[in-house]
Symmetry: C3
Subunit: 317 residues, 3 copies
């Protein structure tokens, strides 16, 4: 593996899941693999879980990690080719990125979309520019349109909670929210579940909240939430703002909040959410406090997902 | 020891002081005790001394520490049971806390009081909620009403600076300040000195600045600063805002500033303050620059206090 | 070496360059030198490159490093002797500094000038106060008027890119900028190149942008940029605001931007800049993207400069 930005970087998703589960059983299985190697973690947007879980993963492999928080006014990066930098940007990615390549062996990047200009966000210009100029493997810690470490975590969690011979029915359901939220977790979940290929995958959302077909192709898509939830084994709940009317929030979506009533339609489904979650807006208390809720397990599994990814990148160097 | 939030968590204060002094003599006495263990340090309010001294203590025991600064707009926690989270809070403590339990073996928390609503502050809802949901030992790095690591440090400092057969006279004196300051350092000092029980303990403050009797019970309390200081061996100087008129600042308290004149009443007393201190407002330069001033020693002892506490928590796991 | 604040702290600059180049070949040559030692890194102003490169240097020597970001409203230090601290400052350097001496073995400090009051900035009151009260070696991570780690890095870079028997011609040229920039990098480069003494050193800048002669004495100074650049082997490009009209920005300096046309006058010179650089304002794209540009090498060499300095300080303890 040369980078970790989307499913296209992964030769064998099932093998990566197995590696993560191996680390879950034995965190120090490869405790010397990363000795003398350095991981840079570049946050252009804030992070708690992602930072800590990735730092623990690095530590389990013997790697040193270094955090750079750059998402503030002090360090605005320029991405435009040929830009005359007489405005607010203070450094060009062409000058900054190669230095990360000198200091680190692997670099992780978190960057959020602006949710104003769809073409700009979906061009992934920030993470792509870093990849172009840094000369070392790049790990997405969530980018404008995808969140592959979360999706790998989600597949690990589904995998360890399913032991029946038949394929599980996995449902991704849109949920209400009060703010414009990126599509990245939903895009990425769809991309990974489709690429994994070991489930019956259904996506449900209100009209006007269709995701980019690049990611959803292969899934069954319906606007009928009840129909989608029927006999589900796993229900992944997530809000996203509109891709069509880019960044728009649905004002009248409260009925989509998942409650016990919805869950009674399912096959005693496990519920999932990437967190943070707004209680009684996206999901009701009764679901989050129910033993079938996997959110804590998902967050815990972030460590093993990151450890498997770093391990593969280290082995490929 | 299962947690470290107040004196009630400590079976034997004198033994804990002795352990800290053992580490002061030999910092690496238990350098393998914490290997493979992780300490999370969650700061809802800023910290310099507390963070560094606790990280050094962890390092001395072989523990890895991870700092999370969450006291900003990006991560407002919800504490209300059943809350509909359609406002400014983005994550419920019920969802956040269990994850700390997955990532860490021990968690430290700093949280300040708002000084607006006494019942809310004194309910200690933040640290208590963390304790309720995180499933691992919690160390207070200063909470709304108590600062036990500071108080343990203070007792360590008094202990190593006293070698006479009689009990020392320890005086806690209120000092002026220009801003509303929490009662926590004063509450906590009173609680620990009383629980320790090896001093003649006097508290002096202006009228209307009585502390909660829960902490002060057992001490002699007087509004007469001169009388209190007479023959003192240790003088602990600290401002606090009013507990009765909650959060109120005393405007006409300048006369309470400790000067050499006050010190001449004492038994050549050592002076103490938890820092940071406002010179020539709380204490005069002449006292802070005098060899009897123990403030640097107190700050240095924060390492050994934290190391003793982490050590006890690790041994109890 | 007892401190690292200017050339005056260094007995033998060439030996320090050689030590840095030894570490560049073998980063782990002294991997046990700093075991059990702690480096504090105190940032009163933000830093990315300096922080990371210095942390890597410490790690290469087995030292633990601890970062303190204090350049915000939460921790305003007081420097005035006898100050009555009833305003915005919350802690006196006399109380804060000794604690660093208790926690750390070496302390690094970054502090920027205000660019309003020349006498205050050039008094270097912040770093000098830290030196006065902390009782441990102080490393400048950039101070109000000097940036010695950058200058050492620059000499390392010139050294490893020069293998001819004659002395290189080294030119420091002023460049345009839109904001008031400190003189420290330019002052420091001049001081170090002069103290090193192994080049023909020319400084060129517009009228009114003369640097303090304390640093430039020994260099040839001219307002004629073309004449300065002729036959140059190394061209160091840097903006600085006026020292005479303290902090003033030159509004009509665009013609000083270095382009390929300027470079054609040189002896196929290598170009240098400390970064961050504003493209097409200070330097044109064509120079920064040219193989002769050494900026990435300079940034990479920050690690070896810091490692040589920390190594010397550790050996002197």
């Amino acid at each position: 593996m040369q980078n970790f930005v989307s499913t296209h970087d992964v030769a064998d998703i099932s093998a990566l899941i197995d590696l993560a589960l191996k680390y879950k059983k034995n965190p120090s299985a490869d405790k010397s693999l990363g000795i003398g190697k350095r991981l840079g973690l570049l946050f252009m947007n804030p992070s708690l879980r992602t930072r800590i879980s990735t730092q623990i993963a690095a530590q389990n492999l013997g790697m040193e990690s270094y955090v750079l928080n750059v998402g503030n006014d002090n360090w605005q990066l320029e991405f435009g080719e040929g830009a005359v930098m007489n405005g607010t940007t203070v450094e060009h990615i062409k000058d900054a990125a190669p230095i990360f390549g000198e200091y680190f062996d692997i670099i992780g990047l978190r960057t959020f979309p602006g949710l104003k200009d769809r073409d700009l966000d979906y061009s992934e210009n920030v993470i792509r520019s870093l990849q172009m100029y840094c000369n070392i493997p790049v790990v997405s810690l969530e980018s404008a349109t995808l969140h592959p470490l979360q999706s790998l975590t989600d597949l690990i969690t589904i995998n360890e909670n399913w032991n029946q011979p038949r394929k599980p029915k996995v449902v991704l359901t849109w949920a209400p929210h009060i703010k414009p939220i990126p599509q990245c977790v939903a895009n990425s979940f769809a991309q990974w579940v489709n690429a994994w290929g070991k489930s019956d995958f259904v996506i449900t959302h209100p009209e006007g909240f269709e995701l980019d077909a690049v990611y959803t192709k292969g899934a069954t898509i319906t606007h009928n939430q009840e129909e989608a939830l029927r006999d589900a084994d796993f229900v992944y709940v997530k809000n996203w703002s509109s891709y069509q009317n880019y960044g728009q929030v649905k004002q009248d979506g409260a009925g989509w909040m998942l409650t016990e009533k919805h869950m009674s339609l399912t096959h005693d489904a496990r519920t999932m959410h990437c967190l943070p979650v707004r209680r009684n807006v996206e999901l009701s208390d009764e679901i989050l406090d129910h033993p079938n809720c996997l959110t804590t397990t998902q967050s815990a599994n972030r460590v093993w997902a990151a450890q498997a990814v770093l391990s593969e990148l280290l082995r490929s160097q």
